[in-house]
């Protein structure tokens, strides 16, 4: 095939902790075709131009959640963003905002994972059931309530979009709160009261100022802003109810 390739400039934020005092931009000239994603551009750099560039990736189909990066300043999945949409301009790729840079495009995910582990992201059954008794019944409507929030791929784009997380990393943050809500809203689950303790804290939903950018960038339509903000109502109700029995209404 005698296709003359177009060439795009990809500007990547580099940071190698053992060599560089601080991050800097490095530009690579990458030949590309119509269907090439930004991730494929990075893979080309890694294979052909500079083997020292580090980044995470795997599935190439926007489901494993590995390849998030700031692309021209916006949190995106590299495998689902296309070079053709930036050409003839250059495209700038940086590690996800608000996370510490470990190296090049790799950010530290420990904080996110730690939070995910804290919210009890599993079913605590209302009524235990043996396998022989078969599945719990759940109507399509009950399923509908959790499906959207259970489609989170843990890509952390919403964290890179949320300034409140950037300002205060103690904030549990949009993605994990969406998962928390997913379990609270599950018809099979009984651990809501436990999880509400996290929701009710300052670092729970109350750090959110409804910026809403988290939902804007979410590649899977999870709408984490909705999960967080509807839980403000839930948390407020929880708050006022917890005063009630003592009769000391404010």
């Amino acid at each position: 095939m005698n296709e003359t390739h177009k060439v795009i400039a990809i500007e990547v934020l580099r940071y190698r902790p053992e060599l560089d005092e601080k991050p800097f931009f490095q530009t690579y000239q990458v030949p590309f075709t119509e269907e090439m994603s930004v991730l494929q551009g990075l893979l080309y750099i890694k294979d052909e131009l500079d083997g020292t560039l580090s980044f995470r990736w795997s599935c190439r189909m926007a489901i494993c959640g590995s390849c998030g990066a700031m692309i021209d300043g916006v949190p995106m999945l590299g495998c689902h963003t296309f070079l053709r949409d930036y050409y003839p301009n250059k495209v700038r790729v940086e590690p996800l905002a608000h996370f510490p840079i470990e190296r090049d495009l790799v950010v530290g995910a420990d904080d996110f994972i730690g939070k995910l582990e804290r919210i009890k992201p599993y079913i605590v059954p209302k009524e235990p059931r043996t396998l022989a008794e078969g599945e719990y019944l759940q109507t399509p409507a009950q399923l509908e309530r959790i499906l959207q929030f259970s489609s989170c791929i843990n890509c952390m784009l919403c964290y890179a979009a949320c300034p409140q997380y950037g300002l205060d990393p103690a904030f549990i943050g949009p993605g994990v709160l969406a998962l928390l809500h997913r379990y609270n809203a599950d018809s099979r689950d009984a651990a809501r009261a436990d999880r509400m303790q996290l929701v009710n804290a300052e670092e729970g939903v109350w750090s959110c100022t409804a910026v809403g950018y988290c939902s804007e960038v979410c590649p899977k339509g999870v709408d984490p802003a909705n999960a967080v903000n509807q839980n403000k109502t839930a948390s407020a109700a929880d708050y006022f109810l917890h005063w009630l029995p003592k009769g000391s209404g404010k």
Binding site: P17, E18, P100, E144, P163, A210, G212, E216, N226, N229
Partner: protein, 132 residues
């Protein structure tokens, strides 16, 4: 010892980073106007309590060109507030299904805006009725 040395980026000027954040900051800034307007009204209430002459002075001040200009700014700001407020409302509600179909956020926002227009209009008509 590990050679890890995570680099933390600064948040300085974060709100200039993205047009979305600028819109957010404008939205938040409408709060200043809401407070300012509340102050104007509060002052009116205090003057009213202080008696006729005090109140007349407040009323006169409202008629000054400065005040009119200021209220134009307030008006624009509050319109933006209304618009942005109903943008967030769908985020604060559990999803609602109507006839098996999920209600789209835009529909909720639209309903809110129509409600605001309606209430405002009723208010105006009421005053027109009283005035005449």
């Amino acid at each position: 010892m590990s050679a890890r040395r995570p680099y933390i980026r600064s948040m300085d000027g974060w709100w200039r980073r993205d047009p979305f954040f600028i819109r957010y900051m404008i939205r938040e800034a409408t709060a200043l106007l809401v407070v300012a307007y509340a102050a104007v009204l509060l002052l009116g209430a205090i003057r009213l309590a202080q008696g006729e002459s005090a109140y007349e002075r407040w009323l006169a001040a409202l008629r000054s060109p400065w005040s009119l200009a200021f209220h134009l700014v307030l008006f624009a700001g509050l319109v933006y507030h209304t618009w942005s407020w109903f943008q967030i409302v769908p985020k604060t509600m559990p999803s609602i299904s109507v006839g098996g179909k999920k209600l789209q956020p835009a529909v909720i926002t639209g309903t809110g805006l129509v409600a605001a227009a309606f209430v405002s209009l009723v208010l105006l008509l009421l005053l027109l009725f009283i005035g005449s």
